[in-house]
């Protein structure tokens, strides 16, 4: 069956193709077969996650002087000065827009150390902070733009801002961490008892959400207010979120803030117990950003009570939030960092349960009050109408002049639900005279749980989104912490996400694949038969 090569010119093409057709239908099959398998493979291994923009921060390449201190100064002046200030006093131009403010190197009160409270950190401590940054604050991680040597050089320079470094030349050494106690129910239970007994709850609250009775009045050494950390979100711990890091923190305290050191009150085992308990307050793994909310279909009515057990069945989606800084007045230091959303629907209604942390449930202060406090608030945003094609949307921060949004709001003051519409944040919200949204909220141990629900269809087709099964609806969320002065445009925001009530899977899904399998199998069968016949024919001839 081997085709002999004549000259390889075009003249042979005719002969070639003849032979090809006559003898070798197989090869045709072969071509198709190879092509689908090889060509189809990228689909099999295609990664679905959308491809992130590559970020190539440029390392400092300019020639730095040989002298470490001079090099450190240059790095500082390029990279750090805008926050930490010319004089190292933490008063750079951006200082007021960060909470906590950038550290003052003049005061030399360093927070995240391995050394005892009120002492200076080791160089390795500073190196760690500069390399990894401080999550949840403005302090970035520098490992990708500064080499190890450059990080050491800048450390040398920031020490020149305070004479404490000279005075305390024989500095305390790093904490020794004893034999670890692996996490277990018993250890967590013991840790929980200690947590209350030691008074952690006074600041950090009964469930650790940073909402203890003292939480709103604490100040740091500069006189700025400082909030106890919400211990339910360990990804925002500055010094690291694992038990070992928590162990270090409770044995060293946080200088310049009310967070004490418990080194003289806890032995090694007790420290691990408390650390294991604190770690257990945050979910493992940490939540990931959702994109699509899929409400759960139920037979029952949608409960307006957020504590109704039906809500436990609905899947959760987690969305990080940011301050609204695109329009005046801007919110640079929000306290609501994220929101969790659950959703249920039946043939008449759709409901959402929103869960977020807030240190206090606030009521609006009287107009005469010195420090203004507003009501806490949350809102779900929908476009007033779906646009044809489903791509075009109103601007995600409260719509724009052309396309309006509809907001379902809930406020803590009076536990009220109301609806508004908006055409751009600068134009303000208009309260709807007639609202179909119902709901209620609860506040407990530093956490809000709020339910809002509405009928799928309403009579106001102009200003209310009409829900249908199988369509994608843009959805976004807002939250306001009234105690933090958040009102009107000062709010935490999310971008647009989607909500989809999934239709039932069509029957064809279960019919087509078996048909295809049988067909392909048939083709294989015929192919083998053909080849066998072919062989017999050629060997007998």
């Amino acid at each position: 069956m081997i085709i002999r090569a004549g000259n390889q010119g075009l003249g042979n093409l005719k002969v070639m193709s003849k032979l090809f057709i006559k003898n070798d239908i197989q090869s045709l099959f072969l071509l198709v077969f190879l092509f689908t398998i090889l060509g189809g493979q990228p689909y099999l291994f295609a990664d679905e996650e959308h491809e992130e923009v590559k970020t190539t921060a440029q390392p400092d390449s300019e020639t730095l002087p040989n002298d470490d201190l001079a090099a450190g100064e240059m790095i500082y002046k390029k990279r750090c000065i805008s926050c930490h200030g010319d004089e190292g006093d933490g008063d750079g131009p951006a200082a007021d827009r960060f909470q906590p403010k950038p550290r003052s190197f003049k005061k030399a009160e360093f927070k995240y150390r391995t050394t005892p409270r009120n002492s200076l950190p080791t160089d390795d401590d500073l190196f760690r902070v500069i390399s990894n940054g401080l999550p949840g604050t403005g302090m970035p991680d520098w490992a990708d733009v500064l080499t190890k040597k450059q990080r050491r050089q800048v450390i040398k320079y920031i020490k020149t801002f305070s004479d404490k470094w000279e005075k305390q030349a024989d500095r305390a050494s790093a904490l020794k961490i004893g034999e670890p106690v692996p996490t277990s129910e018993e250890s967590i239970e013991r840790g929980k008892k200690k947590f209350t007994a030691l008074g952690c709850t006074l600041c950090h609250g009964a469930e650790g959400r940073g909402d203890g009775p003292t939480s709103l009045v604490l100040r740091n050494h500069r006189g700025d207010s400082v909030y106890p950390r919400n211990l339910n979100k360990n990804w925002l711990f500055r010094g690291g979120g694992e038990a070992k890091d928590i162990y270090t923190r409770i044995n060293t305290g946080i200088n310049g803030t009310p967070m004490p050191s418990f080194a003289d009150k806890l032995n090694n085992e007790e420290s691990w117990d408390v650390a294991n308990y604190v770690r257990s307050l945050s979910p493992t793994p940490n939540p990931e950003r959702g994109s699509l909310i899929k409400p759960l279909s139920i037979e029952e009515g949608i409960p307006t009570d957020p504590e109704d057990p039906l809500w436990d069945q609905a899947p959760s989606s987690w969305f990080p939030m940011m301050g609204q800084i695109s329009f005046e007045e801007r919110l640079f230091t929000p306290t609501v960092t994220d929101i969790t959303v659950k959703s249920l629907y039946n043939d008449k209604e759709i409901g959402f349960k929103l869960i977020w942390d807030d240190r206090s449930s606030s009521k609006a202060s009287k107009p005469s009050a010195k420090k203004k406090i507003y009501t806490d608030q949350v809102a779900i945003q929908f476009p007033e109408k779906l646009q044809p094609g489903g791509v075009k949307k109103p601007y995600f921060i409260m719509g724009d002049e052309k396309l309006g949004v509809n907001l379902w709001n809930w406020q803590s003051d009076g536990n009220q639900v109301f609806e508004t519409t908006a055409n751009g944040i600068l134009n303000g919200e208009v309260k709807k005279s007639e609202s179909n949204v119902k709901g209620s909220g609860r506040f407990k141990n530093g956490q809000y749980q709020v339910v809002m629900k509405r009928s799928l269809q309403t009579s106001d087709k102009e200003k209310d989104i009409q829900f249908e099964i199988g369509s994608f609806y843009p959805i976004a969320f807002f939250a306001m912490d009234g105690t933090n002065g958040e009102v009107a445009s000062k709010r935490s925001i999310t971008p647009w996400y989607f909500v989809l009530m999934e239709p039932e899977t069509p029957k064809s899904v279960y019919i087509l694949p078996p048909v295809v399998i049988i067909f392909v199998f048939g083709v294989e069968f015929v192919l083998v038969k053909l080849l066998k016949k072919n062989k017999k024919a050629s060997s007998s001839s």
Binding site: V53, R97, G138, P495, L512
Partner: protein
């Protein structure tokens, strides 16, 4: 020993796939799977063309496969087993693919975003009033730095890499000025237009409704906007694209 032709073809195919999939990300950014698919199709066709033109080899190429498919009465057990396995796997593969294709698609409508759209006519002809003032250059950059850290750092980040403190909450990520695909390939007047009118000023193909980029004409003065541009270029070391440069290329 000479490798059988079919093995060579397969190795070539695999080699190209790995090169595209794993090699390319080392040089540039990872290729989207649709592009890989396109290249692989080309590679497959070229290999088949190559072996089919050199007829001699073509026989060597497919005979082992044909033999394998046909089987033999006195073949080894292993060979028989693998043949049966292949015959079962192929229909299953196609069945799976058809299942994937009829399964309702629950991917939300995410349009392809045009990152650098053609600016409207009103965006042309902005020139930096401080551009020629060499004497005060440093001073302007210093002032631009202040504007940046008071206004832009939260999204575009301390390192101008688009990874600001708030960036993780956004879907359309803030531009990474350190990367070669943003301000380094834009003209100053384009950058000025973007900063002036923000995300909301983009044309529809750039999904203005999803961009958090503020419309800075509402907040910053024209002078502040030019100074911050000077800071962006100074900090990253890029030069704005100019007409002269374009002529040179």
């Amino acid at each position: 020993m000479k490798l059988p032709l079919i093995a060579k073809a397969f190795a070539l195919e695999l080699g190209f796939y790995l090169l595209l999939k794993l090699g390319m990300p080392l040089i540039t950014s990872p290729l989207p799977s649709s592009v890989i698919f396109m290249y692989m199709t080309l590679v497959t066709i070229s290999i088949l063309l190559y072996v089919s033109i050199f007829e001699d080899d073509f026989g060597n190429f497919y005979i082992p496969i044909v033999d394998f498919i046909r089987g033999d009465d006195n073949e080894s057990g292993l060979r028989k087993l693998s043949r049966i396995a292949v015959f079962i796997l192929i229909p299953l593969f196609f069945g799976f693919r058809s299942y994937q294709s009829v399964l309702p698609n629950f991917n939300p409508p995410f349009p392809q975003r045009v990152i650098h759209p053609a600016p409207p006519g009103s965006a042309a002809g902005f020139t930096n009033p401080f551009g020629d003032d060499e004497a005060n250059h440093e001073q302007y950059i210093e002032e631009g730095r202040e504007v940046f850290y008071k206004n832009c750092v939260f999204c575009h980040g301390d390192k101008l890499d688009g990874k600001g403190f708030f960036a993780h909450a956004l879907n359309v990520k803030p531009a990474n000025f350190a990367d070669a695909t943003t301000i380094s390939m834009l003209m100053e007047s384009f950058v000025f237009w973007r900063i002036k009118t923000g995300g909301i000023g983009l044309p529809e193909e750039s999904t203005p409704w999803d961009s958090a980029m503020p419309r800075w004409e509402l907040i910053l003065s024209e002078e502040e906007r030019w100074k911050v541009i000077m800071f962006l270029y100074d900090y990253t070391g890029w030069k704005p694209r100019t007409w002269e440069l374009e002529g040179d290329e």
